[in-house]
Structures are given as structure tokens and as C-alpha cells.
């Protein structure tokens, strides 16, 4: 097996796991295990994964239950892993233990009557979007990487672009099948649009980042596929002008699927990285606005109103992508922004403020950048007040001011009524910053909840609420 230490993972444990899932689905070889150890967290802040890891690949909630019972009895840490697209080290196994990969949970059932999809935790975002589309329906949310697993999207309450009109993952989840660390299988919620039966444990599971239970299956709300859709791009000469247009658009009654904020320099690099061309090469800042409507007339009436509001805030001519291929290209280049920056990024922040405060937040970030002589590329989900600010490496390394600058950005965000994470979560990399945003009572309650679910602290230990 080639393990160092190997104190926890003795051969009896491996045998037990093999009995649960079968020999084929227990992976001990280092070359194969290594693929499961990391996610998309930037290397500067990424926690060091343990090398003493076994990967198991169950395919039913019952198997997950048996694995957790074995682990709970032996007090072995368990790390649920999905598409490994997280950015805060939430799925990185930091202690010797068992990785539970959800890749075999591939069931997809589309309920056209109720406009819902019941899907296994291992279904990817791309597969979900495609399955909904095949049924003539629509899953609007697009948190970025289409390789992300649905289980992970729910566990992290993912957001991303296209969350303005229908909300974030939490707004889609109607039911969750989850296995708690002591092995019981809970089926929370269902294909219901109303449900007030006791405390809502389902919503506690959503966003719990794999610390309260392993999600095996989810039921998600779908929407009818809107026949008409356009993506608009509005160029502005300054950050402030672009951001100023956002509340006006939201107030106008137009109901965009997404309002994204990007800066020309970064979006051009992203396009170049994909060997594509970005369609608007003017301005400093740009808004990308996606509209979907039942009729073409109402779509263009909204587009015209948005054009008027953008121009009032100083934008140049808006361009429009209408063909699906052209809209997909715009979204693909937008989604590739982080991939292009990643090699030089110390950390990607996903701070969030009330949308009306976004311009102020950007100003503060600009000032902090000037104070430290640091380039801080920003883009984000302007319609949600959710901003990605990046602290960059200097000469390939984290600059001395990295932690201090990050703390100042977080403090400014909280002061504006914001939160330190709008969508990526706390994972491992932000535990130390949690106290900037939450009171000690809140953190204490969260730890109590963790203890109630996981008395032996075996599931994703140390994540979100730390090692109390």
C-alpha cells in the first residue's frame, strides 16, 4: 500500500471497507489515491493533504451508511469528495482517513409533472443541465465548473452566475437524502413546495460542507425552458459607472438571470487563454447581463430598458449575443476567468455585501490595492453583491502583506454589512477568519450542532467550525 505511518488505516479496516463496497471499489494505491487529494484551492492557502488515505467508492446510501458505521466505531476520519472544484480546501483530507468518493451516484430522474429532478450526488452540473434540457426543462444556476458534482453544489450551497432571478442552490433544493456520521439515513424534504414540519434539517445540511452528513441524493426544482434568451455586454469606462447601473437594472422590473461584472484586461486574457475573442474590446469595466423570457417581444423590451439604464450610467454601445453558440461562448470565457488567473493567485475571495454597497466595496479594494502597491483583479456576480477579489503572488510567491491585506478586505466587507463568503464557503482556509464575521455565540452554536450530528467528530473533521 505504500503508506507512511499507517497507524489508523490497518488492514482490518481495509477489509471491512472491502466487505461493504467490494474489492474493486476500495483504492489504496498511492498513484490512484493522489488524484483525490486536492481540489481547486490556490496553492498558497491550500492545506497539506495526508498521505495516509484510502478511497472508497460506494454506490448506495446503505453502503455509505455501513462505511460511516465502520469509521465511527474505529474513530477514523471520513472525507466526502465530489468533483473537487472547491476553492477553500473543504474536501482536502488533512488527517489520515477514508475518502468517500461519490462518483458512482449517477441516477437521474426528471419529474416533468412536478418540474423536479431527483439526482444522485455524483451527477455533474453539466449532466444535470443536459438532462433537464432533454426534458424541455431548465436548471438555471451555473456556479462555474460544469464538472462539479450536484452533491457538492448542495453541500456548499453553491451560487455563481445566473443566481439573480431564481436564487442560489438553497432555493432549488427540495429534498435531500443524507447519511449522518453515526450511519442513519435521513430523507429530508421531498417533492414539496411547502413544508413546515419541525426544524428544517434539510436547510441545515445545505451548505454544511460535508461536516454534518454525506449527501447521497437530492431533489431539485427545475424551471420551464424559456424559449428566448440573450446575453448583453455593456462596456463602461469606470468600475463605479458599471456598478452604479446594477441597482437601477434591478429596480427597473427587468428580471435578469445574471448580472456579472468583469474587467476588460482580465476577460481579454481569459478569451486568449481559450483561443477565443471577447466580443467587446472597449471600456475598463463591463456588465454581462443574461435575460430569458417567454416571448421575444418582452425579451427585447427588457433589453431596451436595460440599454437605456446602462447608457444613463455612462456605458458605450451594448452588444448582444442571441445564438446559443454565441451565448455559450460568452459564458465560457466568463467562467474561465479564474482558471486564467489561478497560477498567480494567492487567494480568491468571494466577499458579499448588500448589492447597493458593492460600489463602495470596490472603491475600498481599490484604495487598499494602492496602499499596498498590489494589483487586485476583481470580477463577480454584481446582481448578488458578490465579488471575487484576488490577492496575487509577487514574483511567484505570497507577498508579506498577503494575510494583513486579506484581513483588511474582510473587515471592510463586514463593516458594510457583508459576509466573508458569499458562495465558496469556509472549508479549511477561512476558519481563522470566521470570528471576523460571526459572534462567539454563533460559532459556539455551530459547534454544538456539529457535536449533535457527529459526536466523535469523524466527518470532515476540522472543517468550517475548526477543531474545538
Amino acid at each position: 500500500m505504500g503508506r507512511e505511518g499507517g497507524a489508523l488505516l490497518d488492514s482490518r479496516l481495509i477489509d471491512d471497507l472491502r466487505r461493504v463496497v467490494g474489492d474493486r471499489w476500495v483504492v489504496c494505491e498511492r498513484d490512484s489515491v493522489v488524484d483525490y487529494l486536492l481540489d481547486e484551492t490556490p496553492d498558497v492557502v491550500r492545506p497539506q493533504p495526508s498521505s495516509d488515505i484510502v478511497v472508497v467508492k460506494p454506490h448506495s446510501a446503505e453502503e455509505v451508511s455501513e462505511i460511516l458505521k465502520v469509521a465511527n466505531e474505529r474513530r477514523v476520519p471520513v472525507y466526502p469528495v465530489g468533483g473537487r472544484t472547491g476553492l477553500v480546501g473543504g474536501s482536502i483530507p488533512t488527517e489520515p482517513g477514508i475518502i468517500v468518493s461519490m462518483e458512482r451516484f449517477k441516477r437521474i430522474e426528471i419529474d416533468e409533472e412536478n418540474l423536479m429532478a431527483t439526482v444522485g450526488a455524483g451527477v455533474t452540473l453539466g449532466e444535470l443541465i443536459e438532462a433537464a434540457e432533454r426534458a424541455g426543462l431548465f436548471f438555471p444556476l451555473h456556479p462555474g465548473d460544469e464538472g462539479a458534482f450536484v452533491g457538492g453544489l448542495v453541500a456548499t450551497n453553491a451560487g455563481g452566475a445566473r443566481a439573480v432571478k431564481y436564487g442560489v442552490m438553497r432555493n432549488y433544493v427540495k429534498g435531500v437524502e443524507v447519511v449522518v456520521p453515526t450511519g442513519e439515513i435521513l430523507r429530508l424534504g421531498g417533492r414539496l413546495l411547502k413544508n413546515n414540519t419541525g426544524y428544517n434539517l434539510m436547510h441545515l445540511i445545505i451548505g454544511s460542507e460535508g461536516t454534518l452528513g454525506i449527501i447521497t441524493e437530492v431533489t431539485l426544482k427545475l424551471y420551464p425552458r424559456m424559449k428566448h434568451s440573450v446575453t448583453l455586454i455593456a462596456p463602461f469606462s469606470s468600475r463605479r459607472d458599471a456598478i452604479r447601473a446594477v441597482p437601477k437594472i434591478l429596480r427597473s422590473g427587468a428580471n435578469p438571470l445574471a448580472i456579472e461584472y468583469v474587467e476588460l484586461e482580465e476577460i481579454l486574457k481569459s478569451a486568449e487563454h481559450l483561443n477565443e475573442r471577447w466580443p467587446v474590446e472597449e471600456g475598463f469595466s463591463q456588465l454581462i447581463i443574461i435575460l430569458t423570457e417567454v416571448s421575444e417581444d418582452s425579451l427585447y423590451a427588457q433589453a431596451e430598458e436595460i440599454e437605456h439604464l446602462c447608457k444613463e450610467s455612462g456605458s458605450g454601445d451594448l452588444v448582444v449575443a442571441e445564438a446559443r453558440e454565441e451565448q455559450d461562448r460568452v459564458l465560457r470565457i466568463r467562467s474561465n476567468l479564474y482558471t486564467t488567473l489561478k497560477p498567480d493567485v494567492c487567494d480568491i475571495l468571494d466577499i458579499v455585501v448588500p448589492p447597493s454597497m458593492l460600489a463602495e466595496l470596490i472603491d475600498i479594494i481599490e484604495e487598499l490595492g494602492a496602499e499596498y502597491g498590489a494589483k487586485l483583479p476583481v470580477y463577480g456576480h454584481a446582481g448578488d453583491g458578490n465579488l471575487h477579489a484576488h490577492i496575487m503572488k509577487v514574483n511567484g510567491h505570497a507577498p508579506e502583506y498577503f494575510e494583513e491585506l486579506k484581513r483588511k478586505i474582510y473587515e471592510a466587507t463586514v463593516k458594510l454589512g457583508g459576509a466573508i463568503s458569499g458562495e465558496h464557503g469556509i472549508g479549511e482556509t477561512r476558519i481563522k477568519d470566521l470570528k471576523l464575521a460571526l459572534s462567539s455565540k454563533e460559532i459556539e452554536l455551530m459547534r454544538e450542532i456539529k457535536r449533535a450530528f457527529d459526536p466523535n467528530n469523524i466527518l470532515n473533521p476540522g472543517k468550517v467550525v475548526g477543531r474545538a
Partner: protein
């Protein structure tokens, strides 16, 4: 010349009959035709001139012509008539060529190399032949253009050719020739209200023989649509005297379907 095609990612394809169910997906502008229009717009930006977009198709193809108007065409003509329906590439080319003749003098016709639904790449060159003008297919780069002519680079697989053509002429372009720009919202909104001229068979009566339109003018018969199975190389060593070998070789070739002796076979 442009065509509305079904959105290829969404359209249903009947594997049994080999037919597209065109009602299963919205119509979009054939993507190669957007490259063709972009060539026209770039020439217009430098040398001036007017761009006319022409399409033959059902009335709903009007939206494709509006798309062309938004992207820089000055005039849009839709050839639509029941008598044009059921056309193969020859009858389609004939109808389009008649319309171009009816329009009068032109310098350059630009088409996409092929359409996503038909995939024949025949209509462009056939129109040029019917109009008696020189033509180059698979243009991947417009090297230069003046008021007198155009220099293009054509990609025919293993070789690239540079051609200098004098107007009037026709080129068909590949996706590599440019990246079509997106229209401004303003132009898109104006195009939604602009006039698309609709021409029927009568409108072409001065220049056309009606029997050459549509199904009547289409000699092509589709016997079967299928995807040929790809097979790797196979070696057979035959030994014996020449006479006998020739017969055996013929048999081998027939067996693998490399030779067919039936008449009227459509390949």
C-alpha cells in the same frame, strides 16, 4: 447567401430514416454564413459598398435575414414560395442564381463553405457556375482586397492555394476566415423592425424557367442516408497466375464493398 438551419445541438435526428425533424429545434443562422457576412462587412468598412443578404427557405427564415441586417447587411431578400420547396442543391442554386441575376450587377458573392444540415458544400460553387463567374471554395483567409478584385487563401486539406480573383466572383469561406462580431443591441432592435423583401416565383419570372425550381427541377433522388462504417486497413496476399488473380482480386473488392457493379447506384 445565407441559410437558416436547425440548431444542431437540439434537433432530433431519426437514425432509421436519416432525416432531421426540423420542427424539434429552433432555426439559427448557419454559422459558416456568419463568417461569410463578416467578410462582407470588413470589405464594406474599408471600401464602402452595399451588402445584400439572400436566403431561400420557408417564411420563418426571415429571422435569419433580420440577424444579417443586424450584423451589417443593408438589404435582405427571402426567396420563399411553395414552388421552391423540395429543391436539391441544383434547384436551390438555380433559384438563388436567378435572384442574383434579377438583382443586377454585383462584385462579390460570399457564402459559408457548407450548411450544417445539408453538409454538401455544393450550392456556392453551383451558383457561380450558373452565373458564369470564377469561384474559390474553402477560403480560410482573405489576404487582400481592392476595388478590382480579391486575393484569398484556400484550404483544400493537404494543400493551401492562394488565388487572385477579379470581380465579379464568388468565394465560400470556412470558420477559420474570421470571428464574426456580435451585433450591437441597437442594430438588433432596428433589424427587428426592418423590412425583409419577400420574393416568390413570379418575381423571378423575367430571368427564370419555372420548371427548374423546387422538386421539379431536382434530379437528385435520396435512396438511403447512412453513415459509412469506418474500417481500418486490411491486407490480403493473393498468389497464383495473373488471369486467376485478377478475378480473385475483383471478388475480394466486391466482397468488401469497394466495387459495386449495379447500375444507377447513388453514392
Amino acid at each position: 447567401m445565407v441559410k437558416q438551419v436547425p440548431d444542431i445541438e437540439r434537433v432530433r435526428f431519426d437514425l432509421e430514416t436519416g432525416r432531421l425533424d426540423r420542427s424539434s429545434a429552433e432555426g439559427v443562422t448557419n454559422p459558416f454564413d456568419l463568417n461569410a457576412l463578416e467578410v462582407g462587412v470588413q470589405i464594406k468598412e474599408r471600401l464602402g459598398g452595399r451588402i445584400t443578404a439572400i436566403s431561400m427557405g420557408p417564411p420563418k427564415a426571415e429571422s435569419t435575414l433580420r440577424d444579417c441586417l443586424a450584423r451589417g447587411a443593408d438589404r435582405a431578400i427571402l426567396l420563399t414560395d411553395r414552388r421552391f420547396a423540395g429543391a436539391d442543391t441544383l434547384a436551390t442554386s438555380y433559384t438563388l442564381a436567378c435572384a442574383i441575376r434579377e438583382l443586377g450587377r454585383f462584385d462579390l458573392i460570399v457564402c459559408g463553405e457548407k450548411t450544417l444540415d445539408g453538409d454538401t458544400a455544393q450550392v456556392g460553387p453551383e451558383v457561380a457556375e450558373l452565373l458564369g463567374v470564377p469561384h474559390v471554395s474553402y477560403v480560410e483567409e482573405v489576404v487582400a482586397f481592392t476595388h478590382e478584385g480579391i486575393t484569398v487563401k484556400s484550404d483544400i486539406g493537404r494543400f493551401h492555394y492562394i488565388y487572385e480573383l477579379r470581380y465579379p466572383c464568388l468565394i465560400t469561406v470556412t470558420k477559420n476566415v474570421n470571428i464574426p462580431r456580435l451585433p450591437t443591441l441597437r442594430d438588433k432592435i432596428l433589424a427587428r423592425k426592418a423590412r425583409v423583401e419577400v420574393w416568390d416565383a413570379e418575381r423571378l419570372s423575367r430571368v427564370a424557367e419555372p420548371d427548374r425550381f423546387g422538386l421539379k427541377g431536382s434530379p437528385t433522388t435520396v435512396v438511403k442516408v447512412f453513415s459509412p462504417l469506418s474500417s481500418g486497413r486490411r491486407g490480403v496476399i493473393l498468389e497464383g497466375d495473373a488471369e486467376e488473380l485478377a478475378d480473385r482480386l475483383l471478388n475480394v473488392l466486391r466482397e468488401v464493398g469497394a466495387l459495386k457493379m449495379e447500375r444507377g447506384n447513388v453514392d
